[in-house]
Structure formats: C-alpha cells, structure tokens
C-alpha cells in the first residue's frame, strides 16, 4: 500500500525557508531526520536545536523551552513519524496551554530515513484531529498553497498555541546536515539566549 504523497503540491524545502524567514528571536526545535536537514538547508542558526536522536521528544523539548522563555515564540518542526512516537506530548502541551508554542508537522506519510515505509498518517491517522482532541484550539491540516499562506503567519506569531500538519510531497532531497555535537548545539543555543551567564561557572 502506498500513499499519494508523491503528488502532493506542497514541498518542504520551500515551506521551511518561509517559516524561518525573518525569524527574529524565535526558538526552533527540529525533530530528527528530514526536518533537521530542512532547517539546516534554510540556514543553520544558533537558536535552532536540530535533533539527531530522541525520537518522539521534539514537542516535549518545546514544552520545557516554552515554559522557560515565555516571551519567545517556540516553533517545533517535526515529521509525521517522529510525531507519532510522541503523541502523548500533544496532550501534555495542551493541558499547559502554552500560548507561545507552535507545532508544525511536515507530513509526507512516510518514514523517509528508513526506506520509505508508510506511516499511519498515510491511511487512518489524522494528527490535527488528535491535537484537537488533546485540546489544541488551533489545529489544522493543510495541503494547498492557499491554506499554507493562512497558517504560516500563525505558526510564526500565534496567537496562542498552534498545531499545523502540512501534507508535503515525498521526494528525494540532499542531506543538509547540522552540527551533530550535542554539547555544541546546547551551548551555542544557551549562549545565544542567555548570554555569557550560560557558560559562566556557578
């Protein structure tokens, strides 16, 4: 069984640069695999935290970050496979009503890193409906340019907690690898947001 994802009109490598354009002080967490490569292709940034592991943890990292930095918008960009592994975190986030948290799932209905097996979203699972059922007031699935134009500003600025699943074409793309030294990724992020106090001894 295959999905129709090779014919989806929206493409991840045009969406992500739009999302990250003029990002200001937005804090970005990217799930492992394709979405980590996407944010890197759009331009690596000190306030980006691309994951190389911790599958299922992207939204949860966004939760802790959004609580600690309430004046910053936190954008979690992840894939359908990663989101499926951490669906409980949608309930955890919604319960907290984190008004500065945006979650963007780039849903190509496949596990692209492991041999293009279909995910549950290719058949029966609707991630936006799950987010809505968890308590997200703003949870939608988009699959066209018109719909995308409506949700991109809301992912970047709110208002409130946002969940958007974007149906994106399955396609073979260049790897654009971020630094994989986790300590470096952590320290550069903390220094960028907290200043020198992040690395001062205490």
């Amino acid at each position: 069984m295959t999905s129709n994802a090779q014919n989806f009109p929206l493409r991840r490598r045009t969406i992500v640069p739009e999302l990250l354009k003029d990002r200001g002080d937005m804090l970005v967490v990217a799930g492992l695999g394709s979405t980590a490569w996407d944010i890197t292709a759009a331009g690596d940034h000190d306030l980006s935290f691309p994951l190389w592991g911790a599958m299922g943890g992207a939204v949860s990292i966004g939760i802790g970050l959004a609580i600690s930095q309430p004046k910053h918008r936190v954008l979690v960009i992840t894939g359908d496979g990663e989101m499926l592994m951490g669906m409980g975190s949608l309930a955890t986030a919604a319960r907290l009503d984190l008004v500065n948290l945006s979650i963007c799932v780039l849903d190509n209905e496949h596990y692209a890193e492991t041999g293009m097996q279909t995910t549950h979203t290719s058949l029966s699972t609707n991630l936006a409906a799950i987010a809505s059922g968890c308590g997200f007031e703003n949870a939608v699935t988009v699959s066209s340019e018109n719909e995308l134009a409506d949700v991109l500003p809301r992912l970047k600025k709110g208002p409130g907690m946002q969940f958007v699943s974007i149906k994106v074409r399955i396609e073979k793309l260049d790897f654009s690898l971020p630094p994989k030294d986790g300590v470096y990724l952590k320290t550069r992020f903390r220094k960028a947001i907290l200043g020198d106090s992040a690395i001062a001894s205490s």
């Binding site: 943890g57 949860s60 802790g64 959004a66 600690s68 409980g88 955890t92 986790g182 952590k186």
Partner: protein
C-alpha cells in the same frame, strides 16, 4: 519534617522552576506542594520519557527542572536518556521505588529489581535514601551533582519510605 519536605526544601534552595512528573502515591505530597508553589511550573506527563525531553528544553531556556517518577517509569525513559547523555544536559530524577519492599503487586518486581542498574547503565550516578532523615541531604547532593556537576543524577527513595499499597480498606 516529613521526608518529602526534604526534597521540596532542596529543590527550592536549588532554584528549580520546572517539576515534571508522572503521578505516584509516594510523591503525592511533594507533587501537591509543587502545584501550589507559584514559582514552580508543574508538568504532568503522559509518560516519563517526555519529562527527560521537557527538562532538556527547560535547560536550553535557562530553567532548572527535576523529574519525579516511580521505578516503573525508569524503563520508559531509556532511549530518551541518550538526549541528556549526548548533550550533557543536567538531569535530576527522584524515583520512588516499587517492587523492592513489601510489594503486593508482582508486576512491579521486574523494574523494581532493575531500576538502579538501568540508571547506572544509562549514565546516572545513583544514590538510595532508606531513612527519612537522610532524604534532605541526599536530595541536595543529587541536585548539586546535576546542576553544578552537569551530570545525570538519580535519588532512589526506598520503598520503606512510602505507604504500603494494598487493595484492602
């Protein structure tokens, strides 16, 4: 002072801002105190591994956090512990033990007997508090090891400390 108050005092002194938990009877009073503390944000989790990731995000944004769970939850966390290990996130966890002492439920025994080696294998330093009088000092040392040492640090709370659970009245 009840033993749980030793943990509460230690997390207040350490300036902990986020407390993530999966509810557990042994931690109930501590969780209640944290919920009622305006300086602490409590995060009720659907599974313990979320807490490991939440606290990593907290640290990225400059907050100190702790994770409260029972021994069964340690098994749920194993892969997510690699996030803390690889990035050297400080990680302080307080684990109420099941399957260790007068346990009425045999399904708790497998994780009860493997909690400590599981944590050690994942990279934690592990202490166990068996006496109520020891908890405050151990809690303080656990937090110091995490936030000053930058390490993964766990305190196991012996089942002797917590109420014996039965289904009788």
């Amino acid at each position: 002072m009840e033993w749980w108050q030793g943990i509460y005092k230690a997390i207040k002194e350490a300036n902990v801002r986020q407390v993530a938990y999966v509810p557990d009877a042994g931690h109930a009073k501590l969780i209640h105190a944290c919920i009622n503390d305006n300086e602490i944000t409590t995060i009720s989790l659907t599974t313990e591994e979320e807490g490991v990731a939440v606290l990593s995000g907290a640290w990225l944004g400059g907050d100190r956090g702790v994770l409260l769970m029972q021994s069964s939850g340690v098994g749920n966390c194993v892969n997510m512990f690699s996030l803390a290990k690889t990035c050297q996130f400080p990680l302080a966890v307080f684990v109420t033990m099941r399957g260790q002492w007068n346990e009425f439920n045999p399904w708790q025994l497998p994780m009860g007997s493997t909690t400590k080696p599981t944590l050690e294998t994942a990279g934690f330093s592990v202490n166990t508090a068996e006496s109520p009088n020891d908890v405050a000092d151990f809690a303080s040392a656990t937090l110091h090891h995490a936030f000053v040492g930058g390490e993964m640090s766990a305190l196991l709370l012996h089942q002797k400390l917590t109420p014996v659970k039965t289904f009788s009245k």
